[in-house]
Symmetry: C2
Subunit: 228 residues, 2 copies
DNA sequence: TTCGCTTAGATTGTCGACAATCGGAGTGAG
DNA sequence: CTCACTCCGATTGTCGACAATCTAAGCGAA
């Protein structure tokens, strides 16, 4: 899947992954204080590796650290989300434009098959939003890989993009908009097949703008549940 | 200046700053192995804080860590630099477009004055490339701030942008191209004054493409001095 | 009652020592 | 002579304890 391997590496890496997962899924609430000793015991490790993990998550912008005052889970307020989607539009648009000339025919056809799977899943289970949401991320990540730009992949992929997954979990519970999204994905793939980078970028930017609009409205409805 | 305050915070933060500086300025060569014990002693601290600093730098992409095999300074090969400049073009273009509508008149006029300073410095000392290069970064950072997009500022600013400074130090020793760059900067400011976001973005993208082209040619000339 | 100071508790920052792992020198068999 | 194995030094990973700092409750004076 898109999710990285469970990290058989150092304890710090394991902790970083488990923490990231807990934060992304909402198991750890936004703004929650992260107690080092408590987390270290829960993960069965010392505070050393855990502190390294927190530094790592700080780099991912999943937690915010204040010297001598500990780390807290980041809070995704409306402005932050808006900023993220703005950057995302620019980066994913760029990825799409590059992918149109860089992806192999095999990769594009694999992308098309991926969408077939999504369509099936949508037809089968309406409620199983989880895998759909992950599948969507998978689609976007495959395009990022297609750009052949390692820095872009890093930013959009495993590392930096956890913020997006976090915001997905928070919003896509009642995931309306799966069908129009799928339609837009198909259009994007079509543009890639035609090797039309400009069109692909345009479509991707619209797609993301649409996603933001949808999420923005959703936030407007459920107002004022995150203080400060 | 653009450089962050010397960080009076935790030892790990101090170490991260000093290490970042050493890497950016080339004091620590590309690909060099970073020995924890040795660095810890040089900085007069234990290995704990230093390991946290390395984790931080890893997030900045200044070092590459391999479990059980230590950390090495990242190597900026041609492909990596190309990728960086590609992403930079997209992000700074976006920043420029936003800045055209978001910056205040005062900020824009301050930007203009900044360019006056640069012009003076260029006229005065031809060899003092350092401050010119830093001043250029300052110009770009001010525009990033003008976008009012925090995520964009983080990516282009203090944190993520150290890679750029690193590549500057490596290339801008014999900094030709200061005068055309200044000219382009002036054009960008003019577009901002006219509140023409599209034009500002276009000019910035060209400006960065030109910078990359210049650097690319410079790399071609001094070939094969980085092994692996 | 309210404000400010003091003190106790909890939490973070740091260090030194020990265990686990990796790389390389040295040795021996084929 | 070459290859593989073994062992040793060096380096990284981890832990527990101590020092420094912040937070909050309690007390006393205005």
């Amino acid at each position: 899947m898109l999710i990285q391997v469970p990290e058989q590496g150092t304890l710090a890496d394991v902790a970083a992954h488990r923490l990231a997962h807990s934060i992304v899924t909402g198991e750890l609430a936004q703004g929650q204080k992260l107690n080092e000793a408590e987390l270290a015991e829960r993960f069965g490790m010392g505070r050393g590796p855990l502190r390294e993990a927190l530094r790592h998550l700080e780099g991912m912008r999943l937690v915010k650290r204040i010297p001598n005052a500990g780390a807290r889970v980041v809070v995704l307020d409306r402005k932050t989300l808006s900023d993220i989607y703005g950057v995302r539009e620019a980066l994913e648009g760029m990825a799409c434009r590059l992918a149109a000339t860089q992806m192999t025919d095999e990769e594009i056809s694999k992308l098309s098959k991926l969408l077939d799977n999504h369509e099936e899943q949508i037809k089968k289970v309406g409620g199983k939003v989880y895998s759909q949401s992950e599948g969507d991320l998978d689609f976007h990540f495959q395009i990022a890989r297609g750009s052949r730009n390692q820095m872009l992949m890093d930013m959009l992929g495993s590392e930096q993009y956890q913020l997006l997954r976090m915001c997905r979990y928070r919003t896509s519970r009642k995931a309306t908009r799966t069908k129009p999204a799928l339609q837009q994905h198909r259009q994007i793939v079509a543009a890639l097949e035609q090797r039309d980078g400009e069109l692909a970028e345009l479509l991707m930017r619209r797609h993301i703008q649409g996603a933001w609009k949808s999420i923005s409205e959703m936030i407007d409805k459920e107002e004022g549940q995150y203080e400060q």
